[in-house]
Structure formats: C-alpha cells, structure tokens
C-alpha cells in the first residue's frame, strides 16, 4: 500500500465529517498505469485538505471523454475539469464552453512552462488556454544489443544513419530493423515540426481559419515516399508487418531493433528489456542538412468548463494548483513516463537524489527536444476537424503503403480532403475569431 492510498483512506475518514466540502468532477481519458497515477493524485488531493473534494471519472479514452462532455454540456450536466488531447485544441478554443486558464488564474506564474508546451495551448495574445497535464513528445528508441550484433556501435542520429544501420541489420538477417505505425502524429506532425516544415498555411492555422494544407509539397512528402520505398526493401516495417501486430510490442519483445515512439513508452520498454537487451533513447532522427527545431508537445491538457458556480471553480483551481506542484509532477513523471513541462520541476528533479534514475530519463530528453529553437510553424497545430484529418491521412497513406497508389497521390488526396474539412470548419464557426 503506497502513501497515496493511505492518504486516500485518511481522507475518506476525515471527509466523513466535513459536509460543506465542495465536490467537483474531473474527467480523464487514460487507462492502465497512467490511470492508476491519475487516481493516486486525486486521492492525494482529497487527502491533503478537507475543503474540496474531487471525483475523478475515467472515460476510457480521450474521444469517449470528449463525446460525453459534448452531450453533458448540451444537457448542462458537464464536469468542471476535463482532460483533452492535443488534436482537439481548436475545437475547444472555439467551443465557447471552456474558460481560458490564464484568465481564470492570472496570479499563477505561467512563464515557468517551457516554450514548446506553451505555444501549443496558447492564444494569439500569448495566454495559456489549458493547463498542460500529461505531456509527451517523440523520441527515438534502439535495441543496442541487436545493433551491436550487426556491427553498429554508434546509435544513429539521422535518417541516413538509420537506413545505413537498417541495411546492416538486414544483411545480418534481422527481419525488422526499424518499425513505425505510420501514425499522423509520428510521421507527419513531429517530423514536420523538428524539420521546421509547415503542415498548413497561415502557420498551421494560427493566423486564421482560412488555412490550407501543405503536406503534399513539403519535404515531409519526400520522407513519406522514402518510408514506402524502405518498407519495400525490408528496412522499415509497419505495425501490421510485425508478428506482435503492434509496433511498440514488437520493439519491446526484441522483434524490431529501432522505433520512433512517444516518451511515454520508455517505462514499458525499459521494463521489457530488463536483463535481456540494452536500451538507448535519444531525440528523434533528422535528415542531414536540416536544422533541428522543437518537437510538438503531445499528450493532453486540462480545461476548465464554463457554467459552474464560484465554489466549484475555486475547488477546481485548488486541484490545478495541486497538480502543478513539483512533487506531484515528479510523481506523475516517475510513474507514467510523461514529461514535466515546467522549469521548476526540472530543477527539482536535478536536485533530487534520483536525478539519474531511469524513471526520469525521458524527462530531460523530452524537454530538450521540445526546447529546440522554434519557428512560427513549430508552435503547434490549430486546424479545424483535425481529428478527422488524422483519419484521412492514415487512410490515404495506408493505401500508399499497400501499393494501391503512390505516396504523392495519397498526399494530394489528403490535402484535397483536408482542405474540404477546413472549409467546412470555417463555415461552421463563421464569424468566430481565433482567441
């Protein structure tokens, strides 16, 4: 029984007497170890004071949580706090259903948030709209043991290096040198950001709802075409090509030697490798000749929903303050592999006696990756119906991987269908301005 559970038990016993406590709800979408950590934080908050009581409700996924929030909001029965993921940022910004966090809590020192995390959730006037919660970014993982077996001693840092290593691995009889799932977030968004490429005009939509997609014309198109070619050569594998059927599982089981994956995967990979293989993790690879820019912050943030009374808002604020505390962020990082995104937490980790512990390994690396120099195109993505765009991208590129069309045709189609989504979004929110 950990101290959080103990704290929770204490809270229940203490709370029995305090009838005036303000109850409020927080909806989240994670499952597994992350959910366990979220629940522990909720229990710890309720145990730390008796004035407020948070009820944390797991909805099973970000999408389901959002669906229910939409229905609940229309029925005026919505929670005070809701966690939502990166791709829905614009939907929530224009929804008129949430209170911008920095307006609500102007006294907080929001500038401790690192730039890469701020810009994604920031308004045009530089105010944070939501409080970043579980942040992650893209990293590059290798199975050092397998690489060394094929005679590769240096961990590659460029795509050219990865392909050279993949050729060696293949020559040594390795069936799966590099694995990806071709997910939009990994192969398009994070790739474009760190190479300084735009995804859409108007700086990815930050300057207006009339943006248009550029995915078929930037260097990302070349990279995606390369992936198709490399897959044909047996150097790159997709999730469905692996025995495990899931690319993270394929890497963790030692079936594949290299992968690009979220920092949140570190804990599981190091646990699976323990005693069998050596793991390296570094910043996601670049093409030679490109300057490295920041990667986007992934994961999710917490929004305050409108339409609640003052007491509930105050209680929610107290909970948000609690979650921002360095010790809480450190607890969350250590238990989930998500990255802390405030500088004070990084300092606290550096000063702690566990600074070099593997549980904080991705924190430093992830922050370093998000703190690379940015451009107006690497602030984030502010495009409407973006969740649907991700589906379109996956659908069209999968057709390219299976050989039904070339990658260029796939990306031309993606742009065309994506622009239609943007135009309809623009019409749906006619007369609204980006905050």
């Amino acid at each position: 029984m950990n101290k959080f559970t103990l704290a929770a038990v204490a809270a229940v016993m203490a709370g029995a007497g305090s009838a005036q406590a303000t109850n409020f709800e927080f909806w989240y979408g994670n499952t597994g170890p992350v959910e366990t950590a979220i629940k522990a934080q909720c229990d710890a908050f309720n145990g730390s004071q008796s004035e407020h009581k948070v009820t944390c409700v797991g909805q099973g996924s970000y999408e389901v949580s959002m669906q229910k929030a939409i229905a609940a909001y229309r029925a005026r029965n919505h929670p005070v706090l809701i966690q939502f993921f990166d791709a829905g940022t614009l939907d929530l910004m224009l929804s008129d259903a949430v209170e911008p966090i920095q307006d609500l809590m102007p006294e907080v020192k929001w500038d401790t948030y690192i730039a890469g995390a701020r810009t994604y959730y920031e308004t045009s006037t530089g105010k944070l709209f939501a409080q970043p919660y579980n942040a992650s970014t893209l990293l590059f993982y290798t199975n050092k043991t397998e690489l060394e077996k094929a005679g590769i001693t240096e961990t590659p840092t460029t795509w050219e290096g990865i392909i050279e290593a993949a050729r060696k691995l293949k020559a040594a009889g390795h069936a799966c040198p590099f694995v990806t799932d071709g997910d939009t977030w990994r192969v398009l968004e994070q790739f474009s950001a760190r190479h300084g490429l735009p995804i859409a005009t108007k700086h990815n939509g930050y300057d207006g709802l009339d943006a248009e997609y550029l995915v078929n014309t930037t260097f990302a198109a070349k990279h995606l075409a390369n992936l198709v070619q490399w897959r044909k050569e047996g150097l790159v594998r997709l999730a469905a090509d692996t025995k495990a059927g899931n690319y993270t599982a394929a890497f963790n089981a030692g079936e594949c030697a290299m992968m690009e994956q979220s920092s949140g995967s570190y804990a599981a990979a190091s646990k699976a490798f323990d005693g069998k293989y050596q793991l390296t993790v570094s910043m996601a690879p670049m093409y030679e000749g490109f300057q490295r820019h920041n990667t986007f912050v992934g994961g999710a943030s917490i929004y305050v929903m409108k339409g609640h009374d003052k007491a509930e808002i105050e209680a929610a604020k107290a909970f948000l303050d609690f979650l921002r505390m360095p010790e809480q962020q450190m607890f969350f990082t250590a238990n989930t592999g998500y990255v802390p995104v405030t500088t004070d937490v990084l300092d606290a980790i550096a000063k702690s006696d566990e600074a070099n512990s593997p549980k904080y390994a991705t924190a430093k690396l992830g922050v370093e990756s998000m703190n690379q120099p940015g451009t107006p195109d690497t602030r984030g993505i502010r495009l409407g119906f973006y969740v649907q765009f991700r589906e379109v991208f996956m659908e069209e590129t999968q057709k390219a991987f299976s050989g039904q069309q070339t990658m260029q045709v796939a990306l031309d189609n993606t742009k065309k269908r994506g622009d239609q989504l943007l135009r309809r979004f623009e019409q749906t929110y006619k007369g609204k301005k980006l905050p």
Partner: protein, 296 residues
C-alpha cells in the same frame, strides 16, 4: 371479444398501459431520428452555440463526396456477400441438421450457442483467428510469404469481416430455418420419395418452396441488419482500415460524428442511410414479399 372489453372497461385504459413503452420508443428512437434529420439541415457546432441553417448544402456535399460513395459501395458489397452467405450457410446447416443423421440433435444445440456471444467479442476472437502470424492462415503464409495480411491488404480485411459476420449470423437464421423445415409434414417427403424424387430433388421442389416465408424473413432481417450490426465487428477487427477498405457507411458515420465531432456531416449520412434501409426493406416487401405464399 366480450371478455376483452370487460377486462379493459375504459377505452383509455389500454392506451395507458402501453404508454410507458411508447414513451421509451419516442424518447430513444423517434427523438434521435428527428434530431439527426434536423441537424442534417444545419451546420452544428459540437458544444452548441450558434448553428447555421444551410438547407440542403450538407446533402449536396455528402452526395458529391467520393468517400461517401466508396463507403456506400462497400456497404452494398458487404450486404450482398455477407448477408447472402449468412442465410445460405445456416440453410445448408439446417437442412443437414433436419435429416436423421448421427449427431444432428447435438448439432442443433451447439449451432445456437454463438447467439450468446456479443459482436465485440466475436470481433476480438476473429482478429486472432485471422492473424497472419499465429492464426489459421499462418501455415499458408509460411509457404507463400505475404499471401494473407488483413492489416495491410484491404481485401483480406474485408474477407475477415464477412467471415466473422456470417459466423455470428448462423444461430438466429439457423433456428428460424430449422423451425421452418421441422414444420413441413413428413407425409410430403414420403409422397415425394414414393414418386421417385431423390434427396436433392426433394430439397429443391419440396423443402425450399415450403420454407419460403422463413427464407424471406431471414433475408429481410439480414439485409437490413447487416448494414448496421456490422459496427461492433469493424470496430474490434479492423477499425475501418487498412486504407479505409472496411469503412462501411455505419462506421464512417461513427468516425465522423464521434471521433471527428462533425455532427452535421454524421447526421446527414445517418439520414441518408436511414432512408436507404427503409427503401431496401420496402423494395423487398414490394417485389418479393407479395410472391410468397404463406398458406400451406
């Protein structure tokens, strides 16, 4: 008649008794249907706020969208292949189980069991059965690498889906068709046999014509059901992929509406799908239903 009216002395009393049920149907069926039709004429923001009346613009857009037609085409192909197989396979099983052969009594019981398995569970099991590395096709894949992979090849994924649907449709259709076969008087077979008809001749000329009402029922239910009930299978086996190869209309509506928060687009497609299903059922009754002789 007299006993009925004395039981329900008041003319409003019977209505009062069905009122709760009617209320539920109105609340959970007619209201959402109305809502979907209503939203299909608007551009609706997910969280409410202002919604703009756009007339038939949503329909224009959806009907000129090649993706919509691709999903509709896949729905029709699925309906024709999966529904036909989902009636023909149970029909063969029912005819076999109806004959006095060993284990036919046991088979009649066992074949009903899948009815108790939820669509989502069937999906999970079939995803495993058709897994290219550990499933049924794994030995074939070992001989011809790359022959079967539903995660990459759209046709393979579609076949997996049809297989799962047919399997899940067996119990219900089997029960209906077997009941039909059992109700045919034995004297008919005996008379046919006396006249020199072999087993095949008896199936074609005696059994099939006499179970036409049952066959018609299963076909109507299958055709209309397959369009909507396939959702759980798609969601668990393929997720609509690869490359949208298994994105049937019902799944596209879910993805657009619930994952993409495009309420108007999803509502418009729902309205179109609903009209399509109604027309389909009407056609079946109009063209086929009238030719079926329910008298024995």
């Amino acid at each position: 008649m007299k006993s009925e009216s004395s039981l329900f002395g008041h003319r409003w009393l019977p209505l009062l008794f069905v009122a709760p049920l009617m209320l539920l149907i109105v609340l959970f069926f007619y209201v959402p249907v109305f809502q979907a039709f209503y939203w299909s004429f608007f551009l609706e923001q997910p969280f409410g706020g202002t919604s703009e009346f756009v007339g038939l613009q949503n329909f224009q857009r959806v009907l000129s969208d090649p993706e919509f037609w691709a999903a509709t085409g896949r729905t029709v192909v699925f309906m024709l292949t999966a529904s036909s197989l989902a009636v023909v396979v149970p029909l063969m099983l029912a005819i076999a189980a109806d004959r006095k052969i060993g284990l036919s009594y046991t088979a009649r019981n066992i074949l009903v069991w899948p009815k108790g398995v939820a669509g989502a569970s069937i999906g999970v099991v079939f995803a495993f059965i058709f897994n290219p590395f550990v499933g049924l096709m794994a030995p074939l894949n070992a001989l011809f690498p790359g022959l079967w992979n539903p995660g990459i090849d759209g046709t393979d994924a579609f076949i997996t889906l049809v297989g799962a649907h047919v399997w899940s449709g067996i119990p219900f259709n089997f029960v209906i068709l077997l009941a039909g076969l059992r109700s045919i008087p034995h004297t008919m077979y005996q008379a046919a046999a006396m006249d020199g008809a072999g087993p095949w001749r008896r199936i074609i000329d005696v059994q099939l014509p006499l179970i036409m009402p049952h066959l018609f029922l299963t076909f109507v239910l299958e055709f209309t059901e397959s369009i909507t009930s396939v959702f759980a299978l798609i969601d668990t086996i393929t997720g609509g992929g690869p490359g949208g190869a298994t994105t049937l209309l019902v799944y596209k509506i879910y993805v657009d509406g619930f994952r993409g928060f495009d309420l108007s687009g999803a509502s418009t497609q729902t309205a179109i799908l609903m009209v399509f299903v109604l027309l389909l059922a009407a056609c079946q009754f109009f063209f086929l239903g009238r030719r079926i002789n329910y008298e024995r």
